[in-house]
């Protein structure tokens, strides 16, 4: 019993930093409608800066001043990012800002290693809060008690600022109706910049406050960003109190989940999030109206099937691709096969996001399930490659049918966040169910057979399957089903009044997208000869998102271009430089600024000059 109380207190203490990060994320999303993927990076930078400052400055004043200064530095960096980068792309389609902030995240991950080194840094203890207090016969760190007290104070402070100051009223008004605030003649630029400054400063403070609790390291950002997303979604976008409640909920689930069900502790949090969203589709304290306009992807101009000349180009391109083994060596063919696989993966996400109108932050779930399906068919059931390629993707299809059923019941960013949660559940299962999946060690020895054993043989197989898959997806876009799907996206109300079952059509689209992603995943397992949990991971989901957005979500085939460009760039960078993330992130940021409609959107403009 006493032990449970202490565990409860530990959970509360952990909730403090998470609440700070999540409330900043929530504020920023509420006002600017930007899902700031770089929020975790700001948290991490906060921890690093706090480490450096507290090492330099001595005494209690130096320590606490260092933590506060770290928050201010991060807030200034956040404002700088908003002014230098995001201001240029507010008019771009919604998810472009997410992509830009993802590019920043990649850059920061490499930069901190460059500046501070790759090893973990252990910060000093907080003056005045060293040691532990005995509560019910158990030792509780003093610093934990400090954090438990601090979180409600920050909540109260934010409340005061939001309720009692003119700035706070503007922030709340903009969260409710951004267009109306603009119409009232408020200086939006200043409002957005200041919200970014406060939001990122909160993240920085969250990171700085972790200094006495955990070692500062260069992968802190990914862990916190996923948890912060979960907290913001459970609490309700734009609600600070909701973020507080959800942070406590999540941290307590973590604290007790580890005691009760250590194997599924990761799954637990995401399962609770899915449950909350099903019961309260806008989170615990979130409201509907602000979100409704939030993530509406730009409605593209009418699509046209390729003209015969354009078909010739495609056939010519495929013929060239098929002739690649005549000139390319084994390594180049392996890379080319990987590009083909990712083109299909990106095309499947593009199908879901474009005609389906359903952005997904967790599309790797289906890719990874397909990969595990194929690998288990080989290593578990002993099936040959051909059979594994047929059976494997069915696992991805099953996942898509299951997850899709939930996702089509939510809208916009909530649906996208739910996909992220499901992908994390799938990842956690693969990671923790060691008996079946080998956990972190993965499944090995999944090699192709027969003619596909050679690099050119496998390349042809991958090219044939992926090209067929992409053509099928394109045919589907221009089919009756594709039109009904776009109808449901363009106007749900009208679609229902002409006899289209919106949820069923979108659910079917989810299944289709999941199936094709899983086919790509199954091929990927044979390409690599192994499967690891990262095939389900967030970085892979974001890669797919980057490919689709760079290609242009409002085009049918842009994702293919995006996948080829992005994958080649990534492979080349990894071989050329140790700072591949830094360069890749910079390239993403640059592309987003130069081509806010994506590469495919640019080509559409050339195709149809207005």
């Amino acid at each position: 019993m006493d032990f449970l109380v202490v565990q409860f207190l530990t959970g509360l203490a952990s909730a403090c930093s998470l609440f700070l990060v999540a409330s900043g994320l929530s504020l920023i999303f509420g006002v600017t409608r930007i899902v700031n993927f770089a929020h975790g990076a700001f948290y991490m930078v906060g921890a690093y800066v706090a480490y450096v400052l507290t090492e330099r400055w001595s005494g209690a004043l130096g320590y606490w001043g260092g933590l506060l200064c770290a928050a201010l530095v991060v807030g200034a960096a956040g404002a700088a990012m908003e002014m230098a980068l995001l201001r240029r792309i507010y008019r771009a389609p919604d998810l472009f800002q997410l992509l830009a902030t993802f590019g920043v995240t990649l850059m920061v991950e490499d930069l901190v290693v460059l500046l501070f080194g790759p090893e973990d840094l252990l910060g000093a203890r907080a003056p005045g809060f060293k040691g532990a207090v005995e509560i019910l016969g158990q030792q509780v760190p003093r610093y934990d008690l400090f954090l438990i007290g601090l979180a409600p104070l920050v909540l109260a402070g934010l409340h005061l600022v939001l309720r009692r100051t003119r700035w706070g009223i503007l922030v709340r008004a903009a969260t409710q109706d951004r267009e109306m605030v603009a119409a009232l003649g408020v200086n939006q630029r200043w409002l957005f910049t200041s919200v970014f400054a406060l939001g990122t400063a909160l993240a920085g403070l969250g990171g700085a406050l972790q200094l006495p609790r955990e070692a500062v390291n260069h992968s802190m950002d990914m862990t916190i960003i996923v948890e912060a997303f979960v907290v913001v979604v459970i609490g309700g976008l734009g609600s600070i109190t909701g973020a507080f409640l959800a942070a406590v909920l999540v941290c307590e689930l973590n604290a007790f989940g580890i005691l009760v069900l250590p194997e599924v502790s990761l799954v637990l949090v995401f399962a609770v999030m899915a449950g909350v969203l099903i019961l309260r589709p806008h989170g615990l304290l979130g409201g509907a109206p602000a979100e409704a306009r939030a993530m509406r992807l730009a409605i593209p101009p009418p699509w046209k099937p390729f003209t015969s000349a354009e078909r010739l180009w495609v056939v010519g391109g495929l013929a060239l691709a098929a002739a690649l083994p005549l000139v390319a060596g084994a390594y180049a063919l392996t890379v080319a096969a990987e590009v083909a696989i990712f083109a299909l993966f990106a095309a499947s996400l593009s199908f879901l996001m474009g005609p389906g109108g359903m952005p997904s932050f967790g599309h790797a779930a289906f890719f990874g399930l397909g990969a595990y399906g194929a690998a288990l068919a080989v290593s578990g059931a002993g099936l040959p490659m051909a059979a594994a390629l047929l059976v494997g993707p069915l696992l991805g299809l099953a996942g898509a049918v299951l997850f899709g059923w939930f996702c089509v019941r939510l809208s916009g960013v909530y649906s996208a966040m739910l996909t992220l949660a499901f992908a994390q559940i799938a990842w956690a299962v693969a990671f923790q169910w060691v008996g079946l999946t080998g956990g972190d060690n993965g499944l090995l020895g999944i090699w192709p057979e027969g003619f596909a054993r050679t690099p050119h043989g496998f390349y042809w197989l991958a090219l044939a399957i992926c090209a067929t898959g992409i053509v099928l997806l394109r045919i589907l876009v221009f089919s009756r089903f594709g039109y009904r799907l776009r109808a449901a996206r363009d106007s749900a109300a009208r679609a229902e009044t002409v006899g289209i079952d919106r949820m069923r059509v979108q659910w079917a689209a989810f299944a289709v997208a999941g199936l094709f992603a899983a086919i790509a995943g199954a091929l990927f397992a044979f390409l690599k000869g192994s499967v690891f949990p990262d095939t389900l991971g967030i970085p892979l989901s974001v890669d797919a998102l980057a490919m689709v957005l760079l290609g242009g979500v409002e085009t049918v085939s842009g994702a293919i271009l995006g996948a080829i460009a992005y994958k080649l760039l990534a492979v080349w960078l990894i071989s050329e430089t140790d700072q591949s993330k830094l360069v890749l992130g910079a390239v993403i940021v640059l592309l987003v600024v130069v081509f806010p409609q994506g590469l495919g959107g640019q080509i559409t403009r050339w195709r149809r000059p207005t």
Partner: protein
């Protein structure tokens, strides 16, 4: 004879606000029935309850004797009800012709023939290839009508069908609708702000004020009704000015 549409005791509250209170009326096949009232009278809520977008708190809606209360819009559509929306609810990423074809059911060839016929009917034949997202407001209303007619409905619900149109266009559109009502015995319920349109085309008028049905009858009777005059005079609008 059973009425085409029979509404009994329909009520709906939002929070504490009673948007529609105990509204009952009937609509015969081939009849043009106008639902009028000041802003906030409950017209759109009424429409939503008939079309399935809003679930009523109480009351019954019967279509040709069959209970359709609280059915999903899709099911109501399947029973032969077409509707237009006050705000544009078209498929903005498609051309005008693709909009109508998507709404139609049946074989491909039959769909494109029917699309041409419907677009000709509402006067959009020349705009068939244009993106629906670029239409003028009046043309959006025409497309809305074509979409509402796509399942050859027996009941047509039209929320502000002529808003944003010039006077001559309004008359043409309402004559078209009246023609459909007479020839095919389609029942038409429409809301309208323009009293010209209402008094020129409606066979009968329902007047809604603050959720209550305060008058019902042919145009002449409504024009003379002192209670109706009071409601509209309260808004500073007289029928001599408006109609």
């Amino acid at each position: 004879m059973t009425a085409l549409l029979d509404v009994r005791g329909l009520s709906k509250s939002f929070g504490g606000v009673e948007a529609v209170r105990d509204v009952s009326f009937a609509l015969a096949a081939g009849e043009l029935l106008a639902l009028i009232g000041p802003n906030g009278a409950g017209k759109s809520t009424c429409f939503g309850m008939l079309g399935g977008q809003v679930r009523p708190d109480a009351g019954r809606v019967r279509l040709a004797g069959a209970d359709i209360t609280g059915l999903k819009p899709r099911r109501i559509w399947a029973r032969g009800v077409g509707r237009t929306f006050q705000t544009a609810e078209t498929f903005a990423s498609m051309t005008v012709a693709e909009n109508v074809e998507t709404a139609l059911h049946g074989r491909t060839a039959a769909r494109s023939a029917e699309t041409r016929r419907l677009l000709g009917l509402v006067g959009l034949a020349a705009a068939a290839g244009r993106p629906a997202g670029t239409l003028s407001y009046g043309d959006v209303k025409r497309l809305e009508l074509a979409l509402a007619l796509s399942n050859t409905p027996r009941l047509l619900l039209m929320d502000e069908p002529t808003a944003g149109m010039a006077a001559a266009e309004r008359t043409a559109l309402m004559q078209l609708v009246a023609g459909l009502a007479r020839e095919r015995q389609v029942g038409v319920l429409f809301t309208e702000h323009d009293m010209d349109v209402v008094f020129a085309h409606a066979d009968r008028i329902l007047v809604l004020d603050r959720g209550l049905l305060i008058a019902e009858g042919p145009p002449e009777a409504i024009r003379a009704d002192p209670q109706v005059r009071a409601v509209y005079l309260g808004e500073g609008l007289t029928f001599s000015e408006a109609g």
